[in-house]
Symmetry: C2
Subunit: 229 residues, 2 copies
């Protein structure tokens, strides 16, 4: 089983500092929602966000959207071998049912996540699709998974060729792994990632977007651990 | 060099049959554009499109968007080893400069493509980013590339493990290849793909989205043909 965690992703409802900002009030009115139920989005709230601490890093539901579209449509997921977890900057955690069909339209996706932050759960007729829990830091998520190996992906990590790295894990019979990918646009983890991950690896000497890292993990995991498709 | 063609992609401006449709006129008015300059989009024009021939297949700029975000952000592209071509249902062809930074926001992407269909060219200050040419059928695009091997990806093709298939090409010293991926949501190619491609391969027994196929090609090409990163 492969678990992928998009960690410290920049997904949050409107922070208290901005709910009374004129631009946000007017945006919320247009959307016919209360400001505090609106998802922070640098694409739409860019100007107001200059007043926010770490404002250049925050408000990136687009990264989560593209990560989920990559992960859910992958062969590893279709084979039932993938667990997907979204962790946020405020230590919320979202468990994603592998059978979820995420909408490709971005605005509808944002609507879905706003509903999730409000109700803490999104279900279909038969099952829970998304579930949000609060106050679960990254180290606790990883601990609770109880996997054989936790690997964080970071530009500054130890350079590896991922296919060889996975082959090596296979040799040591470690198949049940968690891969931790940063869900923020650039910079470093805020948490002490070196005390959470067993290995910190780099698959390319420059910055890669989260969905490229996810693709590399998914295809190489499939190549290494699936004997037959 | 790897070339990826998204073939018969469902990218077109509003077809003549729909420019006078009341829903389209009202949509165009909201966007402050003339209907004939609007990109057909099943996400917004779903109802009007029921009156269109092949209406359930058409109007899918979202597939092109996700394909481009996957291809342009890949390691193969960052290494300067990727050529990206979009071919459309009406035999237009769009040459994509590898240095193009495609906007992640879908509506802005649609605006960019509308501009491209209007002006036939999108440039930055220094260079051409996107260029559209008309009346170039898929066989002509492939012929003009003059590559060593043209491979089409199709659910019904010959089942292969892509890493082994590429290794075999490498053994025969074929590195300069073109991979053809369908840019339509489901169904078959309209053209005679078997007379255009040297091989027709299947990497999974069920339908995959275009950006999953692209990921598989990109990561396996990188693993096979890049000795050093």
């Amino acid at each position: 089983m492969l678990t992928m965690i998009l960690a410290e992703s920049e997904l949050e409802v409107m922070p208290r500092e901005l709910v009374n900002h004129p631009a946000i009030i007017s945006f919320a009115r247009e959307r016919r929602k209360k400001p505090e139920f609106i998802l922070l989005d640098s694409n739409y709230h860019h100007r107001a966000m200059t007043e926010l601490s770490e404002g250049r890093r925050r408000g990136r539901p687009d990264i989560v959207h593209l990560f989920l579209l990559t992960a859910l449509e992958s062969i590893v997921n279709k084979q039932g071998q993938l667990r997907i977890i979204i962790h946020t900057r405020h230590d919320e955690v979202i468990y994603v049912n592998p059978e979820t069909r995420i909408m490709r339209n971005y605005d509808r996706f944002v609507g879905l996540i706003e509903q999730l932050f409000d109700k803490k759960i999104v279900r279909s007729e038969e099952q829970i699709l998304l579930e949000l829990k609060q106050k679960v830091p990254l180290n606790k998520i990883v601990d609770e998974l109880g996997v054989e190996k936790a690997i964080a992906f970071l530009e500054e990590g130890n350079a590896v060729k991922l296919n060889n790295y996975f082959k090596d894990l296979k040799k040591h019979k470690k198949k049940d792994i968690v891969c931790i990918i940063g869900g923020f646009p650039s910079g470093k983890f805020n948490c002490a990632i070196e005390s959470i991950a067993d290995d910190i690896v780099s698959i390319y000497p420059e910055m890669l977007v989260a969905w490229t890292v996810a693709s590399e993990i998914l295809v190489n995991y499939e190549n290494t651990f699936f004997v037959k498709i």
